[in-house]
């Protein structure tokens, strides 16, 4: 675990982001400063603000007692990403079980998270198309186009090579383009 934190920290440092080291701001300061941003990231990954809040709370409650006093933001983002995957996995299991029990298809809109409908039709359409993408494609698009991370940073957060990031993002954009067409 310690090695993993250091690996992410090194990657982040190269990109000039604020890097809280052992002597940096403590966990409470990190939480205060980045809670909202991390909740927003989680909302984009899991859909509803309640789950997103829970994910961030849970991540920080697990960060106590780690060997570094305040892990780098990149590491926390990775934790949020992993926790979001767990939530989505649990939902998938629940939806499949519900479908088995009730005989309905299940797992559609009612199982999606609470979200805002006042975004406007065009944005809602885009988010719906995004939600239909495979998990990895969706994650990388969020990291690229919401957090503006570079391929290297996305690779560090998701644990794949930068070339994989590039090809995945390109495929995801192609799919969005084909689904949404040229509507503006």
């Amino acid at each position: 675990m310690k090695q993993r934190i250091r690996a992410v920290a090194r990657t982040w440092d190269m990109n000039g982001e604020t890097l809280p080291r052992a002597s940096g701001p403590p966990l409470a300061a990190l939480y205060r400063e980045h809670r909202l941003g991390l909740v927003r990231l989680a909302v984009l990954l899991v859909g509803d603000p309640e789950s997103a809040e829970d994910i961030v709370q849970d991540v920080f409650s697990r960060l106590h007692g780690k060997s570094v006093e305040a892990p780098p933001l990149a590491y926390v983002r990775t934790c949020v990403l992993n926790a979001s995957r767990s939530v989505l996995r649990r939902r998938g299991v629940a939806a499949r079980w519900a479908a088995l029990v009730s005989g309905s298809s299940g797992g559609e809109a009612e199982d999606s998270a609470e979200t805002v409908a006042l975004l406007g039709e065009s944005r809602q359409e885009m988010l719906t198309a995004l939600a239909r993408l495979p998990r990895r494609q969706r994650e990388m698009l969020v990291l690229r186009y919401y957090l503006d991370l570079s391929d290297t940073d996305i690779a560090a957060v998701t644990g794949v090579r930068p070339s994989t990031v590039r090809s995945t993002v390109a495929r995801a954009l192609d799919r969005l383009q084909s689904e949404l067409g040229g509507t503006a």
Partner: protein
């Protein structure tokens, strides 16, 4: 940068901005404590209990013991979140305003509600393969759908407005906003007015549209209350409304923002007369607000009248949405109780009553709430194969 990338970036940013800071300071979550030997300890405890009960029941003579009260269960760690009793379900609080309607219309098309035309007629979009195919209505009494007009997918941007026997919407074409209308009883849509569109970073910003008597009234993203006769005609900017946006006829407010530092909707005018009403007054102990309607203001944890009186704590927290609905009378809240259950709720600032929307999420089940679709005067969500529509206008 391609168009699809721009759209994606815009959609993600807008969705993320829906999660707002409610200003409530939050403490770092407590460390996660998970007893590593919970299962063996539980098994041992169960064995001890069984053995002890057997011994007590078969060998020992019962003797009088002082009465002992029940051991209180482990209390939830206090947090800054609202923790209190959940409100009753909304259909128990306002039974006349809550209706269940089919999620699909004729031909299997999806029906998404937009607004109540009357207390018994819901107007909405018909979607085939997630593409708009027309405007439809649903009669709650006859339980039947009627197609008002067929439409192409890109012909409607934003919400649909209903009133005065018409349905109106706006569309974007050639850097212009087009206002369209069609009689509620059905017919061919006609162009009401055309105005220059407001674009930001080359993205269309849309308008807030309403129907008042026989006029279409709207506010573009840069403010100003415009109007045009529903039968068609020139659009005119109503005098003295520059920078104001329509809140609820006949009131318009400024500035339109959710940034607490810029005091959203601080100023209020009556657009018919141009009269400026008193600005928002902060009650003692409050420093900002996240929204103000015609009568009420809220900072996400408390509400008060625009004149600073009747300060009340909200039975929940701001749900992170632009939640002042129906001219600011209703507020969408998130409630949670000591058992870890969570729910979204509608709170009526005028009467203080609250109703829970949809199923309650339990800590154990982690069942996510349904997607809440929030319109200015309506909320709807799916429940099984049906959908529940809440007519905020029907709440008295």
């Amino acid at each position: 940068m391609t168009g699809i990338e721009d759209r994606l970036r815009d959609a993600l940013t807008a969705r993320a901005a829906g999660v707002v800071d409610d200003g409530v300071p939050r403490a770092l979550p407590a460390p996660r404590r998970r007893p590593p030997w919970r299962a063996p300890v539980a098994v041992t405890a169960a064995i001890v209990v069984v053995v002890a009960a057997t011994v007590v029941g078969t060998r020992l003579v019962p003797r009088a013991e002082p009465a002992v009260g029940p051991t209180p269960s482990a209390t939830v760690m206090p947090t800054e979140r609202y923790v209190g009793p959940l409100a009753p379900p909304i259909d128990q609080v306002w039974p006349d305003a809550v209706h269940e309607i089919p999620a699909t219309g004729p031909g299997g098309r999806v029906f998404t509600p937009e607004a109540f035309a009357t207390g018994r007629v819901v107007v909405g979009r018909g979607l085939t393969r997630n593409r708009l195919d027309g405007i439809w209505s649903y009669d709650l009494v006859r339980r039947s759908f009627t197609r008002i007009t067929p439409l192409k997918d890109t012909a409607v941007a934003g919400s649909v407005a209903v009133g005065g026997g018409y349905v109106a919407w706006h569309a974007y074409r050639d850097r212009k906003t087009e206002i369209w209308a069609v009689p509620l009883k059905g017919g061919t849509p006609h162009l009401v007015a055309t105005t220059p569109a407001v674009l930001r970073d080359d993205l269309y910003e849309g308008v807030d549209l309403a129907i008042v008597d026989d006029m279409a009234v709207w506010t573009p993203a840069d403010g100003g209350v415009h109007r045009a006769p529903l039968t068609g005609g020139d659009a005119e900017l109503m005098p003295g409304t520059e920078g104001y946006h329509l809140l609820a006829w006949p009131y318009a407010a400024r500035p339109k923002t959710r940034h607490q530092s810029v005091r959203p909707n601080e100023r209020l005018i009556d657009v018919r007369t141009g009269e400026r009403l008193p600005d928002v007054v902060l009650p003692p102990g409050r420093t900002s607000w996240i929204g103000c309607g015609v009568t009420w203001c809220s900072d996400g944890t408390a509400s008060w009248r625009r004149d600073g009186t009747r300060l009340r704590r909200l039975p929940g927290l701001d749900g992170g949405l632009p939640v002042l609905l129906s001219g600011g009378r209703f507020l969408l809240l998130r409630q949670s109780d000591r058992e870890g259950r969570q729910a979204s709720a509608v709170h009526d600032l005028a009467t203080g009553r609250t109703g829970v929307l949809g199923p309650i999420r339990t800590a154990a089940g982690r069942k996510p709430s349904p997607t809440l679709h929030v319109k200015e005067r309506m909320i709807w969500y799916k429940r099984g194969d049906e959908q529940v529509v809440v007519n905020l206008n029907g709440i008295r």
